[in-house]
Symmetry: C2
Subunit: 457 residues, 2 copies
Amino acid sequence: MTIDAAVARLKARFGAQAAAGASELDLHSHGEMHRGVSRPDVVLYPESTQDVAEIVRICAEEGCPITPRAIGSSLEGHTTPIRGGVSLDMMRMNAVLTVHPEDLDAVVQPGVTRTELNAALRDTGLFFPVDPGADASLGGMAATRASGTNAVRYGTMKDAVLGLEAVLADGRIIRTGGRARKSSAGYDLTRLLIGSEGTLGIITELTVRLHGIPEAISAAIATFPSVEAAINTVIETIQMGVPMARIEFMDEGYLAAFNAYSKLDLALKPTLFLEFHGSEASVAEQAETFGEIAGDHGAAGFEWTAHEEDRNRLWAARHNAYWAALATRPGAGTVVTDACVPISHLAECLLETKADMDASPLTGMIVGHVGDGNFHVQMLVDPDSEADVREAERITVRIAERALRLDGTVTGEHGVGLGKMRFLRAEHGDGWDAMAEIKRALDRQNILNPGKMVEIN
Amino acid sequence: MTIDAAVARLKARFGAQAAAGASELDLHSHGEMHRGVSRPDVVLYPESTQDVAEIVRICAEEGCPITPRAIGSSLEGHTTPIRGGVSLDMMRMNAVLTVHPEDLDAVVQPGVTRTELNAALRDTGLFFPVDPGADASLGGMAATRASGTNAVRYGTMKDAVLGLEAVLADGRIIRTGGRARKSSAGYDLTRLLIGSEGTLGIITELTVRLHGIPEAISAAIATFPSVEAAINTVIETIQMGVPMARIEFMDEGYLAAFNAYSKLDLALKPTLFLEFHGSEASVAEQAETFGEIAGDHGAAGFEWTAHEEDRNRLWAARHNAYWAALATRPGAGTVVTDACVPISHLAECLLETKADMDASPLTGMIVGHVGDGNFHVQMLVDPDSEADVREAERITVRIAERALRLDGTVTGEHGVGLGKMRFLRAEHGDGWDAMAEIKRALDRQNILNPGKMVEIN
């Protein structure tokens, strides 16, 4: 019972669906952030749920670790196979299986990315809202409980998924949830798997909620004299019940990066990017209400546009933030933080963080899904500089501890992976032990993404 | 190690907070529907989380069952202590601990009812939306994953709860979730406890999401020539993205009952009660869009009103549906079903069910949260008639099986309790075993509401 025995059996059984060449092992040794690089012993490319179940059964018999992954956009090392074994690459399971327009749901395989799903929906008048920066796979997004710019209106993956099919650690295939909009029938295994980062089961199918494309969409930009003015505008807007679709903060550093990367000409001041969804009348009314609140807080240059092209340019710039920041210093690596606090503590959390960055030798840019109280600092580091890496680490710890002190969480949407596990005791107390008890119950041998999420051996 | 030993220790320790008089034991032997009446050996009235933890530790040491309950509005026998032991009555833990208006959340104890919370919010401009028919406790609502008339807009308890404090089966106190609007930090223990019906932990505190009272609210009634016409109107309204706050169906039987019970004069035809929330302009626009769709389906008598008094009369009638039905036949008992299906299957499910009722000797009235695909049949039975009880059971089984055949669930919002456990294998397959594994992991001795939700011994 060894990894070697599992690898031999898997290669014999799966032929070309099993790969162990150096380049493939390297490619599967890390996610987007190279946190804890570690090669698997073999990469498997399942093409069906039955493939996944069979791979898991062989691994269970041999006690071989399995670390699922898809497109590899993880920022916290979730997909790094730190104990070797199998890297389970789900990207060949990439079919949109069924769209039910009348029920506003779709059934998809886990390797479908968010933009692929939206492309498949093009003629239905529907869309799938959850939009992390990367064009991530839906399986990965569910596994990390991802969100993005419009969670303030449409929720996170916790809200976007109605049901799952998953393979458990002994190869059993289960279905959770379903297509009904709500149910009180039993434990919420759907929500238990969402955010479990491949440690409790391998997601092989998702039923996701869709939304009608609004009759009218308008986008806007507003610049503010200070971070507080921007954040107070957000708080009042949310309190007024304006059903914002997107309300995104970015600081001067990012705006300069956007201008360079996306050929824009944005003012270098604390800025909100906004989007309003609804009927023509409702969108106009929302923009007007927001404009009044922003004006009270000294906003300048409030502009809104229903032009699709202008909107797309704005949001493309926002979605490319990560790359725009990296492009400001060729060769730089990056460390991204991910705090989320109650919105009443957001200004304090952001200002203290900004002071940290002002005092730090590192460059860090701030962007936030501020309607949810969630923000990121993207620091640029020389990956070969021990001082840079140590400083980025120091800032990361300070921000995580600050989020906890302010009633928040150490990760709003990026997940735990290797980066945030050390904070889970502080965030959850004895609840973290309960998580370990659940893990032990569902994965006795600890073969599913071992070493992540909980400490059990 | 016996129930008797536990009872003796609990009485000695808790004095007047422990009661074993016949009337109190009887009162705690059932919920609202007298399903599986069974007396506890003692009733405990904890006044703090520490009390709950101490009671649980004593019960754990003695292997004594504990069945939590609050106001007792359960319709499926969740709170019936079928193995005796302790009935844990949470109604003395009924404080609204903190309201954070700026963050739109509140921290409450589990014995607070939904109307008590809304009364406490009166001066804040905020409200708590989830509204089952009964004035249920928030702890019980979380434990059963309850919802109500406005889940189509505001979601169910799954969406309404940000975090919990709970006592586990060994007396450990854990906190789950938190006040941040979203988090990717670990397994979603909040959602695991919501809907777990007291079998995994005892909820001792809830942090709930609040919403701003809309600037404008209007209510409306529309009557239709047929059930299909009403349901097709609902489907199109949802597909158009009209952000309905409430969209409730009721049949002629209920309308007659409302007329008698609430002194109304409603037409006896398939009817929708509606509510629109938003700005003045948006509410008017929503009502207009709905009116057009309803008109296309032959609706008559579409009236809408922004008058608070008229609205309240309408919704009071709706909330009293259960009692109105009972009042049509003094002395009658009742059996209520609870199916939820994808909305595209709702008309089929309702029509087949209506045919069942037409062919049955029992009277049954139909009401539905049809925006979610959820509906109830309330049957009137003579509780002393074996034939009535058997017929109600036959209908209940037919509806549950029909819901499953139509991609739905056997309970949309009432929960499993004693009534729906027999269908969980059909609904969840091997997923039901995974639920049992989680139960075993968190409650090794099976003392928390034993005999419910999963079969483990």
